[in-house]
Amino acid sequence: MITVSHVSKRYPGGYEALRNVSAQVEPGEMVFVTGHSGAGKSTLLKLVGGIERPTGGSVVINGKNITSMGRASLPFLRRNFGFIFQDHKLLFDRSVYANAALPLIISGFPRREIPRRVRAALDKVGLLDREKARPVTLSGGEQQRLCIARAIVNRPAILLADEPTGNLDAAYATEIIAMFKAFNQVGVTVVIATHDTALIRGLGARTVRLDHGAIAA
């Protein structure tokens, strides 16, 4: 489903975030990308999600080489993913409901079905009773769950999560990971970048470890 081959990413200024990275994710798989901070986990996720472009190598999603895609088709590519961002990227000037509905509005989803879909997504993350609240009034864990609700509202086949448990205490983190596990069990491909190796121990999921921008042996 996701094939990354010989990908490298060098930022303007010469910093090389990824060097010759190859990896593969099968449909329905749940994969963790681990490594110290600065190892290139976020960069790898961004390249897969079509948010950044590699300086070398190729990324193939569902048989489509996205590295050679034109700019105009990138937005449509991104709609295939549910992206959970390290810093949430919630919009604080609107309600929880409006935040979760944004992907549907962007993709031109039929109007009448939006409320149902949004409420279903909010229900899955346990935020249904907070739909009118402003994101500022949510706790860190709730904000993360809202971010997840926004990622799944489009029912994407692939979820990409960048440090979804970053600032959460252990109990909350376990809960979030269990949530991803549940999505994975209904067939969603899940890729999670995390530095917290303790968290994934005993999950039995495959792990890709990055070290200074390269795959660690």
Binding site: I51, E52, F76, R78, F83, D93, P103, P110
Partner: protein, 301 residues
């Protein structure tokens, strides 16, 4: 169907943003209104002068004098040429004896004129051109002077021509003013929209990350620019209309002293339409430039 909703959303969104900052909106609309009212007002003024001068000069006329010895046959031939000529709207024949009688009556010199052995006046035609275009009239004059038994053709368009030149300079100045101010309005919108983009940076970034096309992101800003321009156009129209109304009141009391009743014409519906369309277009253009420039910066590399 969803694209219609997308446009309705964008329109609502831009409307809400205009109402959210009423003070800034009023100022921007005022800038637009004043900047557009200036060239519009001058233009309307020029149009009125042109109309007024057309009223004062009766139709642009040529006087065609035949040779003194021209006979009825020659008159007939000239008549035919004038009837067929494309530049001639209408003409009137002035018989030489009638002309002499008129002169006697009008000049009060009947005694002197009666002393004359023969009638010194020639037959004449008074010809009205199809338009006031000086080139057309001069062409007709030059052509008619070549006709047989035509002694002299007199064109009374000299001062019309001067006025025309003055009006042309006026129109050029108005055009220049209009172009400069149009540029300024695009620049003003560019900056307004730039501020909007900066305050909505997060929203734009998040929308792009979750798959918004550039069209989607651009749309509310384009509507905002266009709407602001349109409101500015309405303001300009109101300014011009009020100014014309006020001037007319003054002109009425001023003209009354001379037994005249001059009045300025208002903008026509068509002119108002052009003004509003142009205003909206300028706002839209400024917004488009601004959004294009700033969206490009947010592209992934």
């Amino acid at each position: 169907m969803s694209w219609i909703f997308a446009h309705i959303d964008a329109f609502r969104d831009s409307m809400r943003r205009l109402l959210q900052q009423p003070f800034a909106t009023v100022l921007n609309v005022a800038v637009f209104g004043i900047a557009l009212a200036l060239p519009c007002g001058f233009y309307i003024g020029l149009e009125n002068v042109a109309r007024f001068s057309r009223q004062l000069t009766s139709e642009p006329q040529l006087s065609l004098f035949l040779t003194v010895n021209a006979d009825a046959g020659d008159v007939k031939a000239i008549e035919e040429r004038l009837t067929r000529h494309a530049a001639v709207a209408e003409f009137r024949f002035v018989d030489r004896s009638t002309a002499l009688e008129d002169l006697k009556r009008a000049s009060g010199m009947s005694d002197v004129l009666s002393e004359l052995q023969s009638n010194p006046l020639p037959h004449a035609f008074v010809v009205a051109g199809r338009s006031a275009d000086p080139d057309l009239l001069e062409g007709l004059r030059d052509e008619a002077s070549q006709w047989p038994s035509v002694e002299h053709v007199q064109l009374d368009s000299e001062w019309a021509r001067k006025l025309d030149a003055a009006l042309r300079i006026g129109r050029l100045l108005v055009t220049l003013l209009g172009v400069l101010l149009a540029f300024a309005l695009v620049a003003v919108t560019f900056n307004t929209i730039r501020l909007q983009i900066l305050t909505r940076r997060d929203e734009i970034e998040v929308s792009k990350l979750i798959g918004a096309t550039n069209h989607f992101i651009r749309r509310p800003f384009l509507y905002l620019g266009g709407l602001q321009g349109l409101l500015g156009g309405v303001a300009a129209w109101l300014i011009v209309a009020i100014a014309v109304r006020m001037l007319n009141r003054e002109l009425a009391s001023f003209g009354g002293l001379f037994g005249l009743s001059p009045s300025l014409g208002h903008m026509t519906l068509q002119q108002i339409g052009v003004l509003l369309a142009l205003a909206a277009l300028l706002g839209w253009l400024g917004a488009w430039m601004s959004v294009s420039r700033h969206l490009w910066r947010m592209e992934p590399r």
